[in-house]
Symmetry: C2
Subunit: 315 residues, 2 copies
């Protein structure tokens, strides 16, 4: 019997630019996985059902295998809209509000995103709520700040199994548009090297930004440091990265306060080291969780909450 | 005798994307003017001498007419490099450091830009120093804050005819790259209407940003306000404009302080009304000077300082 024939459910993280599919057995363990760049932007054109069916078929999954999905597939412009759940909301209620895709050849449910309907800080997320559910055991009880860095970094207040509020800092996107389309493209060049967390330029610019969170006052300084002080392209990229990450941390801790307990940092790859370094510079203790593992654990939790997997077998 | 045959000098403001040429008589009065999009980016390829000679010829200027130039023509990648003058520096010394273009068919001098060689706030300007010289009489003595809004807004501390320090806030550029290349392009659309200073959305977002200067915490809120509250494209543009201008003012007044005297706002067109409204929201009194007039007056002052025009005749 092949591994994939043991598959009991597919778990799908469908973002704007990325798609990840795992096949899980009845205990929630991974039997196969694959990644693709057929995120929302491509699936909108190819068709969500077509894309998912093809991946599952190529993975040798049974024809009627059910699937639990999170992320942008549930957006208005996605597969079907999974209406936002308003915060405050418990993680159990969020996962339980998964929406069934009608007339699909298999049982497909999409986890809803979250909306913060505030006049001063309106905000939305899709996908990170599932990551959060995946680190619920790490968070535990009490009031915790969770930081999920990325294109649109999310900071969340988690309190006793519920999400009470959150905010978005588009740090990754600002790095991309400013390094690619502003005057800083002359400073940074087309292919900056990856920024290392022990780069002193990263640290210096981060430290400055941690002080007051001010980005606009310092952006042009990267250009000027190139003209006046010979700051090279790789260090210019490090300066921009330090500036934006430091400002994000200053701004988010100003909004959410410092709560004594470590910040839970949910992140994958080299970005985690940059955020951990930046938080260390600010004297913030962190507990790191892998973002890829977190979303998978959250999808398993969502499958169980919706009776697509039985609770008992993995316990 | 035609008007242009009375020309005693050409005054040239040569920016990154724009070129303006005035013909002045011996008293410094304008006898003709024209505008072109042959800024640095185009003149680099066509040749600065070729571009200027053609405009002057088409304007009917005498063949050997001298020219006083400010702006990016003096950058390293410009016509010839007019090395930065370091601040603090007197306006008289800055104008007097104009550099002669060698082996041109006419007497051409380029006013240098300014450099602030600071480890924490390195900065440069080219062109605004000439605008400042043009509003010197408006500034008078004492210590004054001058705000020159634009693609790269400059804030300057002017003290008794000298520039003691300055900073750059790339507000116009951030509006352009964020509205055109970030997720906010979905909120704002391709052709947002011009923002009116009495737009309440502009005022609300400006007021919020004036409070703490925090841009990153609020950018994604424009997208969320579209998804949750139906904020339309024109209001989304107004929100981004208010957010960026408010944050600039909050940040610049944090760096330079509030000095009792009105802020001198050197600006042209509709942008002036937005900045004046934003400063009024912050309780800052302003004295407005037209930026086009200022640069022309500064070029006349530079021509006199370099004995290209005699002092007496305009007084």
């Amino acid at each position: 019997m092949s591994a994939t024939s043991k598959a009991a459910i597919a778990a799908v993280d469908w973002g704007t630019t990325r798609l990840r599919v795992w096949l899980l057995d009845a205990s929630g363990s991974v039997v196969d996985e694959r990644r693709s760049d057929e995120g929302l932007l491509i699936a909108q054109h190819k068709g969500f059902a077509v894309v998912l069916d093809r991946h599952l078929q190529e993975m040798g999954a049974p024809a009627a295998l059910p699937a639990i999905v999170c992320g942008m597939a549930g957006a208005r412009q996605g597969w079907i809209e999974a209406p936002y759940v308003d915060v405050p909301a418990s993680l159990a209620d969020i996962l339980g509000a998964a929406v069934r895709v009608p007339s699909a050849g298999r049982d497909i449910r999409i986890v809803p995103g979250l909306a913060q309907r505030s006049a001063r800080t309106p905000d939305v997320m899709r996908g990170e709520e599932t990551q959060l559910a995946g680190v619920a055991s790490l968070i535990g009880s009490g009031s915790h700040v969770v930081c999920m860095p990325g294109t649109h970094s999310k900071w969340v207040i988690a309190e006793g199994g519920a999400i009470s509020g959150f905010g978005t800092w588009p740090t990754g996107e600002m790095f991309s548009v400013l390094s690619g389309h502003s005057i800083l493209r002359h400073s940074i060049g087309e292919k900056p090297a990856a920024v290392a967390p022990d780069n002193q330029v990263f640290r210096d610019w981060c430290q400055e930004a941690l002080f007051d969170g001010d980005i606009a006052a310092r952006l042009f300084g990267i250009r000027a440091a190139g003209l006046l002080n010979g700051l090279g392209p790789d260090d210019a990229a490090a300066a921009l990265s330090g500036l934006l990450i430091g400002a994000e941390i200053a701004s988010a801790t100003r909004r959410f306060g410092r709560r004594g307990a470590p910040v839970v940092l949910v992140v994958s790859g080299s970005l985690g080291a940059l955020y951990a370094e930046a938080m260390a510079l600010d004297g913030i203790a962190v507990k790191i969780a892998d973002a890829d593992q977190a979303v998978l654990a959250g999808l398993v939790a969502a499958a169980r909450r919706n009776k697509m997997l039985t609770d008992g077998e993995a316990r």
